[in-house]
Amino acid sequence: MAQLDSRIPKGELAGKWQRHKADIRLVNPSNKRKYEVIVVGAGLAGASASASLSELGYRVSCFVFHDSPRRAHSIAAQGGINAAKNYQNDGDSVHRLFYDTIKGGDYRSREANVHRLAEVSVNIIDQCVAQGVPFAREYGGLLANRSFGGAQVSRTFYARGQTGQQLLLGAYSALSREVASGGVKLHTQSEMLDLVVVGGHAKGIIVRDLVTGKVTCHAADAVILATGGYGNVFDLSTYARGSNATAIWRAYKRGACFANPCFTQIHPTCIPVSGEYQSKLTLMSESLRNDGRIWVPKRKEDRLKPPASIAEDDRDYYLERIYPSFGNLCPRDVASRAAKRVCDEGRGVGESGLGVYLDFADAIGRLGEAGVRERYGNLFDIYHEITNENAYKVPMRIFPAVHYTMGGLWVDYNLMSNVPGLFVLGEANFSDHGANRLGASALMQGLADGYFVIPYTIGDYLATQKPGSRPPADGAEFRQAEENVVGSTSRLLSVKGKRPVSHFHRRLGRILWQGCGMARNRAGLEQALREIPALREEFWADVNVPGSGDSLNQSLERAGRVADFLELGELMCRDALTREESCGCHFREEHQYPDGECKRDDSAFAHVAAWEFAGDGKAPVRNTEPLVYEAVKMSVRNYK
């Protein structure tokens, strides 16, 4: 059994981080350059970590599968980033952001981590402004804010509808500066395919050059994974097509525990599926819920009528009706399930019946078309581009889609996994969002981890490692891992079956969406647990990966990722089946209140489930970390 020591500092909550920083071991400045740190990923988390560690003097090697760090999936975040600045003087505070995040996560996250996140949120905004991130401003020249789901204050900072882009370009510029200074060695189009563990510690990675196919070994004193989320396990999602689970999955198979894999977020406002060929689902930022009103017809018969012809009285603004105090701004899991319910009742709009209206008529009346364009112009453009409809004239049609994964590798308070020397940042870890993430909090967490947490906490580990004790990159463990990578590559190429990789990915996605999507139940999960291994077998017998391993081969890249998804999908269902309660995004139909809200079971499940690999074909071990609430009283979430 893995040892899960969360290493939460003792003492009163608000002082934990300050005290921890004062107490942990440090690496002295002249020794820092003797340490080699590998960072995999250069999204918000990886780029900010690489830049900050290099500034401190560590020697950093940064690996990304993209052709440039600026292409990481973080670039696509639209809506904004939270921070407890209280610039609006509307009663915000570190405590309130902390509390909203804990409550939003349905009491399944760690108090201490979340409090730290809220504390450093304010530093993030300072840092980004200093880097030149062009956040939206008011006429007086001060920073502007908007509100986001799950909060009753305005604390979200934004740069039009391109906040992730601007934050990532900020982190990328800091990273570029360190590359120029020689502190960071950047490896683009380089995919990590295995973690190397030497004497129980993470000491390196195996990488395939995606252009030449060459496989190489890299040693370091510590390894940081900042490789993003695994939502593409569902095939259709709002993620970039390349996002994948390979780095964390292979680390899992080397001993790192995978926490709460079934906690996946389904975002309520995405453009509905239009056909079989669909390759991705486009998010319409949650910020739209500030001004758009969500509705469906009251009567089934009206669902195909032109929306303008449906009288006000015949419309059901169901979020405003059921949740009067949060209305259209209730949290994502709540909004998504409500949409599912009205569609299940047969009131969904659009040809497929899988859609609800997001209507801006009132906002246009209030602000004028120009006012709405100023706030959301680029989102309306995207919508038009995809659907050929003008949302200034007809309401948008939206439907929930997979969007974020709260689950990820288990980490302690220092963001270190149970494998010493392996750190996990950003969406790739499980740490801060419990069973549901609030909007605008992922960008905050990614940058908190990279700029303000890891620069301190990595020292606590490195101080225990003698400078120069790093193993050579040609040791036995490296050779073994390299062979493993070369072997699985040639295995994929040698199946030579009949079906393209996409075929299996699509089918896996359907199984998961049915069995482990917005609503889950025992029978559905058990069925998925029968179907996934069968599909995996079929994959290894019938997949066709053309081309060779020694050149650029996109089919091969995707095949490796889908092979991992076919294993991860099973773990997700297993996790969902074992968690006999509903919480946040994990909605088990067997566990609900009469009004359809989540029924948690705090006596049995107030814990993190951290799964441990036990070998291929063996059932993984379920370890638990109890969640102890000292400052907040666990209660039933209520957004009414």
């Binding site: 600026r70 840092q127 006429y139 120029a180 683009t188 970039a240 239009s274 060929y277 486009t282 053309p546």
Partner: protein, 264 residues
């Protein structure tokens, strides 16, 4: 929602690797749905090629929503295809009709060598960025964010420039393969903000000189770049950068040298 499908013919650039000879190959695309994106149409063609045991067409893509700058197709001679203000991935098949022949090539520019089929190496852009596309601020050393107000107009204009997705369409559209719009966007974004002032001269000198060293051509004011830009970044920023550059040359006591390394 449209359900009537149609067929087109693709003439696609195939090239097995860097420096290898390439050629156009024709493929039919059948059962095309007008609501498909151009890339989804290519996905379907690729699955058919795979089923026939042929190597699929390599093309770069990721976000498929016009923000990551990965996709980079020249469609019928135009970088990012027929429509203004969108990337290749935001081009939809409703722009085409039964029987059309569509020519698909990579972005063509000397500093962007072809890696395979429709994929090019655009790392030269990273090298330009490393030369000076940043504000030097150590993590943790930043002052309180609202300490320096920024006039809304300046912030908005900086944002107009900062929207650049680094795709390289501007270079591909320019007969000189100039990267002026790309560089001007970064220089203007940072130069318009108070935080960007201390390094303003150094930045423009270093980025421009790196751009020259990497083999990008000069600007002859045709403004094909802005027309091809998926974010419609205005060529006014080029004029702004030219002014910055002239002032910096005048003020600088040092020669314009790049601080950054060569192509990463």
């Amino acid at each position: 929602m449209s359900t009537k499908t149609f067929s087109v013919t693709l003439r696609v650039w195939r090239q097995s690797g860097p420096g290898k000879p390439g050629k156009f190959v024709e493929y039919p695309a059948t059962g095309v749905n007008p609501d498909m994106s151009f890339l989804e149409m290519l996905d379907v063609v690729n699955d058919e090629l795979t089923a026939k045991g042929e190597e699929p067409i390599a093309f770069a893509h990721d976000c498929r929503e016009g923000i990551c700058g990965t996709c980079s197709l020249t469609i019928d001679g135009k970088p990012h295809g027929p429509h203004r203000g969108v990337a290749s991935c935001q081009t939809y098949m409703r722009s085409y009709e039964e029987g059309d022949t569509i020519v698909v090539e990579p972005f063509r520019a000397r500093p962007f060598p072809v890696l395979k089929d429709l994929i090019t190496d655009r790392s030269a852009f990273d090298a330009i960025q490393q030369a000076g596309g940043f504000i030097s601020v150590r993590t943790g050393a930043a002052p309180e964010a609202n300490a320096v107000p920024v006039p809304k107009e300046a912030a908005d204009l900086a944002m107009d420039a900062a929207q650049c997705i680094g795709c390289g369409a501007c270079v591909a559209a320019c007969k000189n393969a100039s990267a002026m719009l790309f560089v001007a966007a970064k220089v203007s974004h940072l130069g318009l903000l108070p935080q960007g002032q201390p390094e303003r001269d150094r930045r423009v000198l270093a980025m421009v000189s790196t751009m020259d060293t990497l083999g990008f051509g000069g600007c002859t004011n045709q403004y094909e770049c802005s027309a091809a830009c998926p974010k419609l970044i205005s060529h006014d920023f080029i004029a702004r950068m030219n002014r910055d550059y002239a002032k910096a040359i005048f003020r600088s006591a040092f020669k314009p040298v790049a601080a950054g390394g060569e192509g990463a």
